[in-house]
Amino acid sequence: MVSTERFIGQPVLRKEDPDLLTGQARYIDDWTMPGMVWMAMVRPPYVHATIEAVDTTAAAAMPGVVGVFTADDLDLGALPFVWPITEDIKVPVHYALTKDKIRFAGDAVAVVVAASREQAIDAAEAVSVRATVLPAITDIEEAAADGATLIHEDLGTNVTVHWVHGGAGDQGVFDTAPVIVTERYIQPRLIPNAIEPRGCLAYGVQSMGEYTLVSSTQIPHIVKVTLSGVTGIAEQKLRVIAPDVGGGFGSKLNVYAEEALALGLAKKLGVPVKWIEGRGENYVGTIHGRGVLHDVTLAADKDGKLIGMKFVELADMGAYYQLLTPGIPELGGWVYMGPYDPQTYWYEFRGVLTNTTPTDAYRGAGRPEATYVVERAMDALARKVGKDPAEVRRINLHPPFDEATPFICGLSVDSGNFEPLLDKALELVDYDAMRAEQRTRRDRGDVKQLGIGITTYIEMCGLAPSNILGALRYAAGGWDGATIECLPLGEVILKTGTSPHGQGHETSWAQIVADGLGVDPDKVTVLHGDTMITPLGMDTYGSRSLSVGGVAIHYAMEKVKEKARTIAAHELEVSEDDLDWSDGSFRVKGAPDKARTIPEIALSAWHAHALPDGVEPSLHATAVYDPKNFTWPSGAHACVVEVDTETGHTDILRYVAVDDCGTVINPMIVEGQVHGGVAQGVAEALYEEAIYDDLGNLMTSSMTQYLIPSAMEIPHMITDNSQETPSSTNPLGVKGIGEAGTIASPPTVINAVVDALSHLGVTDVGKPASPERVWRAIREAKGALA
């Protein structure tokens, strides 16, 4: 029962697995209730149109239909948008059901409620909408141009936000430096595609005014507080449960129309209301990611040593702001220096409304966009000064540091030691041998050419110090909570404010508790994802769970141990100062056999027969942790590709991910996070792209057109997380790993593709580097050379 073993750092197998492996998990579509009815959204086949009439009569008469409702039938406030990043930001009004105009393909005008899923969907198709079609704009430059058709007329412009990082250093260097690199990079929209679509079930007791929303969400706590405002259900009478959640990647870090509608309808109708998203709906109704364009200027000396870095971005907001929309590019605005050390910095972005699905956080949220353009430009700089890209990075890396150190972006980085990461990546990818092989193939003029791509990166996790969030005009805090209850028979319950959906918190958190309290992880049960059971939480996104919620566990254990020490000293008849905590017990100094374990003390605290004066029964404690700084993982990725210069086809021959995420709690889970992150980044680099036609229709509107890679396309990955530079921000030394792979891999792969073709004069291949794009890049370069 009592353990003296160390569990942090061990590949403990996951506690989550058995029910997931046997089909016993309970995802949202597995929930059902007596009297339950189904909701279906009415999304007319328009992208941009003025609504003239919505006729629900035919639908209302269809079999099983309980009712058809438009905005006027439901008393719902505007959907939440919580990050008005500037004082003069223009905020589009966004309701769960639109009244005046349809502004994107997911904009719903009504909902149908019916007895069955099929009846609701059938009836939704019978709602007829008369509307005047308006020109649709899906291109950000077109939307930003003077005279463009307005998405929201009341705002007077489609360019609704302009955020300028104050900049740092002498901005004159962008005119005067010996070497100037200017590049333009386009990053297409991406569709997150969690394999489980969204869905929710709302139910309650009308007479009591009490309601519960079960939703496939990453953020039950944020959903609760915001939907209380939207629906008028008192916050203390609203409970939100995240059941088993089938992936999120940011797409479930939001508060959606359907959640508000299901709650509103449960309140109105007094019966449980369920909605499950179809994949086709998911492609238009769930947030997208990326969709940005950057103009980059690097200023350097003739050896390629950076002097200044400047980035001007145009970012696609979509038709409305969802929960965080314009905050996403801003989040990236703090990492455009990469792990480098320039003296001058500039970043600004303009957010543009278009007739598309709103963008928001997609795995990495701002940092992949930034890292992509920084690392593409570093390769362009290397080509310009005629140096090896590894060398140009090496001479620019910030020197090592283990205490918080100010970076040019204006924030302090907690710790970092970048050069050994680069060395390790080069070693694992067999860099020199690959360069030799590349030369051989070039000399031979092979059809299949080799390219090597490198990325060195830094990213920002641990969202976030609440005072900084306040300064950035974010509406909430960045803290998280943990409650530990030591039960009388030796088991421990941990209630965490994080809300995992595949990340394995039940296992990693149990490892932290096991080490802290000297118990076996099997004795620790982790509860999460229910605002009634774990009211203190800020949920799971932005690689924050461990570095905020995990650290809260540490502080809750400190409190438990403080009380336990008092009880142990009393029972052992010594003063508290005479006790050491070692090998999972409080031991009397000089007489280590006189000891009390946490389970022993928990029993004493429970029966409370002989507690010291002033000590309350029960061994439990709650801590709420507000980080004093962000955490900053870093790393180096390298990849080797083979590009067929005749067909444009790219194969990844080797992929190496070397990431320093600080203290590793569970190396197996960390490796899994890197695998998944890299796979999503490889998908972004080679396959995935949301494409619209001239009329604004999404052409990649299902999994048959939008190319999610299978096991055939994703390469075997070599990972290394052995460098653990502890964060100076928190006592566990942890940083975060959920997004690193997605941040580092797109530029790594694209740099490799460009590198394979650079001797042909190719300097740019856009994402995704499809065979057609590569083939065209080669043709254009040949044309330019001819």
């Binding site: 197998l13 996951r14 016993q24 959640v245 695998h675 998944g676 096991a711 055939m712």
Partner: protein, 158 residues
């Protein structure tokens, strides 16, 4: 309504279904076997993979009436008395799942594949999984899990 009679996980079932009912919704909603998941509308993701007369099929591409007179096996029947099958155990040991949503489909696809090819190479495993999408794992540990269950090791490329 059309009458169907079929065997699911060894138990015989008779039911009246709407002709348009997909097998996956019959299993999930009429029989309460919710382990089989739905991830797309286009037979792309493979989350709904089950066995029909011992072979893996996507249960969203079949109507329930097409399973009339046949034998269906779902993820619920893979473990015995709470004891994981060797393949499930291998997924557990190799961290071959994260959110778990694609996992039942992966297990069903892989178990049927291993019956056809008990000693596959890594390449063959990857090819066999082409119809099953996972967004969490990057597939690497899924491939490891299947190779290990087959007594093979990774790196055994074709």
């Amino acid at each position: 309504m059309t009458h169907v009679s079929l065997t699911v996980n060894g138990a015989h079932h008779q039911a009246d279904v709407e002709p348009r009912t997909l097998l996956v919704y019959f299993l999930r909603e009429q029989l309460g076997l919710t382990g089989t998941n739905v991830g797309c509308d286009t037979s792309s993701c493979g989350s709904c993979t089950v066995h029909l007369d011992g072979e893996s099929v996507k249960s969203c591409t079949l109507l329930a009436v097409q399973a009339d007179g046949r034998e269906v096996t779902t993820i619920e029947a893979v473990a015995t008395d709470g004891e994981l099958s060797p393949l499930q155990e291998s997924f557990h040991r190799h961290h071959g799942l994260q959110c778990g949503y694609c996992t039942p489909g992966m297990i069903m696809a892989a178990s049927s594949f291993l019956k056809e090819n008990p000693s596959p190479t890594e390449e063959e495993v990857r090819e066999a999984l082409e119809g099953n999408l996972c967004r969490c794992t990057g597939y690497q540990n899924i491939v490891e899990s299947i190779l290990d269950a087959a007594g093979q090791t990774s790196g055994a490329r074709a």
